[in-house]
């Protein structure tokens, strides 16, 4: 379950960013911003490596004491960044991969929507509801 999900365009501005606890949103925005440097580093490292396989999933970008940040880049250089709660240790790598795959599929659907201009902020409700399904539900205490 993600705590924050962001979609960043290839020019490095956010197309979509949403986080769960609505206080402290700025902290997540800042984390996503700093993770972009790590993403760029990984992309350029991929370019120089002689390995034939170039994966789209970038893996764990960097861990902090409360959160872990994962990255994924598409062929059109659109980046997906996901921040996950560290205390949720049950999340395995292939679950994160499948979450990114769902994100990629939904982003492709947004792109094919004739009412969407590439480069605009994503306002699709279908995309919103897909992201909601991936995020933690805040526990409601009485």
């Amino acid at each position: 379950m993600a705590v924050c999900v962001a979609v960043i365009a290839k020019e490095n501005y956010p197309l979509y960013i949403r986080s769960v606890p609505t206080e402290n949103e700025l902290k997540f925005h800042y984390m996503v911003h700093t993770s972009l440097d790590v993403v760029d580093e990984k992309i350029s490292a991929m370019g120089k490596a002689l390995v034939d396989q170039r994966e789209l999933y970038l893996g764990l970008l960097y861990p902090t004491e409360d959160y872990k940040v994962y990255g994924y880049v598409t062929n059109s250089k659109v980046k997906f960044v996901m921040v996950v709660d560290s205390s949720n240790t049950a999340l395995r790598d292939n679950e994160i991969r499948s979450m990114f795959r769902k994100l990629h599929n939904s982003y492709t659907d947004v792109m094919c929507n004739p009412f969407y201009n590439p480069g605009d902020r994503i306002q699709s409700r279908a995309f919103d509801s897909m992201v909601t399904s991936m995020m933690i539900q805040e526990p409601r205490f009485q």
Partner: protein, 161 residues
């Protein structure tokens, strides 16, 4: 393969519609240029969406030539159910893609008949190539030329600045 026929028919109608003698469209050369731009623009938007959807399961492209090979194999395969017959480059940003039997022209005949009518049938495809390249991060200019139907060549000049 019903999809191919549907696309061909739709494309033919699109071109016919934009070329129909219309009162608000100037029928002279000025209006024709606008119609070509409209067709190219349509192809561009479709290419942008295809550029996102088609490479989905593929690994990241390593260099420009990989992107061009993707255009020749996967894009042409998805849209026209065949692969491009030839790809040439001068290694300085110009690529020539050759198709010896372009599906949108095959129905018109072979040889030199209808050669003057051909540019409007290629505008959408030029836009398609340009849109796909743009999503994949390459700014380019695409033009098409026909020496004899149904063979045609698409020239892609990459904007390197």
């Amino acid at each position: 393969m019903v999809d191919a026929v549907l696309f061909e028919l739709l494309h033919t109608e699109m071109v016919a519609e934009l070329w129909a003698p219309d009162s608000d469209l100037d029928p002279g050369p000025g209006g024709q240029r606008t119609s070509l731009q409209v067709l190219e623009g349509m192809g561009f938007r479709v290419g942008q969406a295809l550029g996102e959807r088609l490479p989905r399961e593929m690994l990241a492209f390593r260099e420009e030539l990989d992107v061009l090979k993707f255009l020749c194999r996967d894009l042409w395969g998805a849209v026209f159910q065949k692969q491009m017959d030839g790809l040439r480059t001068n290694h300085q940003g110009t690529y020539v893609l050759q198709d010896s039997s372009f599906p949108l022209l095959v129905r018109m005949g072979s040889g030199l008949q209808y050669l003057e009518e051909v540019p409007k049938f290629l505008a959408f495809t030029c836009g398609l190539l340009r849109g796909t390249l743009s999503t994949l991060g390459i700014r380019s200019l695409v033009t098409a030329s026909v020496a004899a139907l149904p063979a045609c060549k698409f020239q892609v000049v990459i904007d390197r600045c």
